[in-house]
Symmetry: C2
Subunit: 368 residues, 2 copies
């Protein structure tokens, strides 16, 4: 199947603790078609060390050099959000396609600039809204589009972020501060609502209630109480473009009940998607079909054709990312468009901004 | 326990098909402390027939005469909503306490006038928000108030009305027209949200999305398509007075999944209340407690002390109403205040009006 090896330059592949090391490296090991040709980190010593650890031939402390390196076909940006725009700009300026983790920008304005740059430079910007690569989600989307439950009447999603509650892992402390662009709203809710909208359509109007119920949280390492300025409760509702009414409640921490419960109610039946954890981008979903009118649920198995990777399991955190990389390979080699682009990310950023505006003003918003 | 028999005059106890006959008569048969002393219907022939059927000594086609009858201690109003105000006024004018079915008025203005009349006349107006008499709900409320799950952080309720979907029972056709005051919003959602607010507190601010997804519905008897002007999708969210974020999605028809799923998430654990049908005022609930942080759920059994009626089962449609009558007896004889009053109904009517305003204007509302 694979007719070309794509050489990646990964910005942010530093220590074994980095996101790139924990997710991207195992995802790439699970598939064929890629090699990691270069990496960059913030200083040359850590870059050299990482290059040795991950067996990467070229290393830099300068992302511009990485982007310009002749052995790099595609740049991967896997660092903290406030740096995305500069790094993406460096890659696009070098004429290299880029895969940038979600959230694309630190706010809508960043994302708008990056989408414009990708468009003007005519260089593809892929975004890490990886949920769209999930076999289960692609199957759900196809079921809905094929009219398996008739017309969609309404949908309800109740989810838990698994974090951002009363306590905080020290690695996530930077995600407590609104200005860093990494929050429950942008990341966990962002991935989750992206999956819902990708399957059912965008909101034509949206109302929102955001709140911070734990303004001080305890570090799990030191026990210290630290301030949190991000929202840890997100309730949105509205009308989708197809007329369906959508209600989503996304909470911090974990629930004893519905860490992930997603009902899609149609004129001819229901789909129910559940998981024991609430982050759509990693979830190993159970999909059930109900005939409607209170009828009994029956399990649905994701057909084999949706599973593109067989060397890791749906319960692996990097399973969906391995699928995203597989689809990106197709997009690059075959010119398809499976992986979401910066323009898709911009829509999601606009939605998130509209949710913040709806909550702060109390007025329903549109974002398309 | 019972030290006085209260003599009821029931307005609307007509045929065996009437709501009073299907709910009030069996509820009263299940308990002691009451007798049905009089009834009235819209014409004297049907009243005479009903009096014979239900073995009621006095009958009228005139509610003023019923209210003035010396053998009537308390007037029960169990007719269609547009008639409530006139009939309640007749009872209060006669100085008789009245139990009026919910919705109290055909809109907030009606309810306001009736609450004012009850207050000015110093005659008690009880309202049929019977969910508050449910043993399960009283237990849930006490658990929350006792801090069994710590402070309430958030709550989610997903429910199905069981009706008002694509088809309509001929007996409910009058509930398709917004002007009749009997709708999914006022009745099934009204009872349900009343239970939530009674346990957790009122909303200090509320956003709402209402929609009619089935503007034409099929009569189950004739197959004829008839128009529906009421909302069959209700999504509300907001902040409760205690700061908790609440999200409620209430849908027409039945779901294969969550006909009733109510999570109450606290700092020290979760409560989960489920039922196979979505109307809180009738529901036979399963109550489970979760220790939080994704811990395992354990069933909680409603203590015997909450069960005031043992001659019918929680699955009987009139079980909660039998409890409401039992509590009303205590209120009248002992001067307690268990059963909600017109002032409580007015709060609920104001909330419903605010939901309609929030939906039509797109602006968050307050109603207290």
């Amino acid at each position: 199947m694979v007719d070309r090896t794509i050489r990646l330059g990964i910005i942010g592949l530093s220590s074994a603790e980095s996101w790139a090391a924990r997710a991207h490296v195992p995802a790439l090991k699970a598939i064929t078609g890629y090699e990691i040709a270069a990496l960059s980190t913030s200083n040359i010593d850590s870059a050299a060390k990482a290059a040795k650890t991950f067996d990467v031939p070229a290393f830099f402390d300068n992302p511009v050099q990485l982007a310009k390196h002749p052995d790099v076909d595609v740049v991967v940006v896997a660092v903290k959000v406030p740096h995305h725009r500069d790094l993406v700009t460096a890659a696009l300026d070098a004429g290299k396609p880029v895969y940038c983790e979600w959230p694309l920008g630190n706010g809508r304005q960043d994302a708008e600039a990056m989408a414009a740059l990708s468009r003007d430079a005519d260089v593809t910007g892929f975004v890490g809204l990886q949920g769209r690569a999930s076999p289960a989600l692609r199957y759900i989307r196809d079921l809905v589009k094929a009219g398996h439950i008739g017309d969609v009447v309404s949908t309800t999603l109740v989810g838990s972020a698994g974090a951002w509650g009363a306590t905080i892992d020290p690695r996530l402390v930077y995600g407590l501060d609104r200005k860093n662009g990494v929050s429950m709203l942008t990341v966990q809710f962002g991935h989750t609502i992206d999956g819902l909208c990708w399957c059912l359509g965008e909101f034509s109007e949206i109302s929102a209630t955001l709140a911070t119920r734990f303004p001080m949280v305890k570090r799990t390492d030191t026990g210290e109480m630290v301030p949190k300025t991000i929202d840890d409760q997100i309730a949105v509702s509205g009308i989708l473009q197809n007329g369906a009414v959508a209600s989503v409640h996304y909470r911090s921490g974990s629930s004893s009940v519905a860490n992930f419960l997603w009902e899609i109610n149609g004129t001819e039946g229901d789909l129910v998607i559940t998981s024991n954890q609430g982050r759509l981008q990693y979830s190993d979903f159970r999909i059930q079909h109900g005939p409607g009118k209170g009828g009994k649920l029956a399990d649905m198995v994701v057909p084999e054709a949706y599973k593109l990777v067989h060397t890791c399991a749906p319960t692996d955190m990097f399973y969906t990312l391995a699928h995203a990389y597989t689809l990106m390979h197709k997009d690059i080699v075959n010119g398809t468009s499976h992986v979401p682009r910066f323009s898709d990310a911009l829509v999601r950023h606009k939605m998130i901004e509209s949710i913040e505006t709806a909550s702060s003003t109390g007025s329903r918003q549109a974002y398309l």
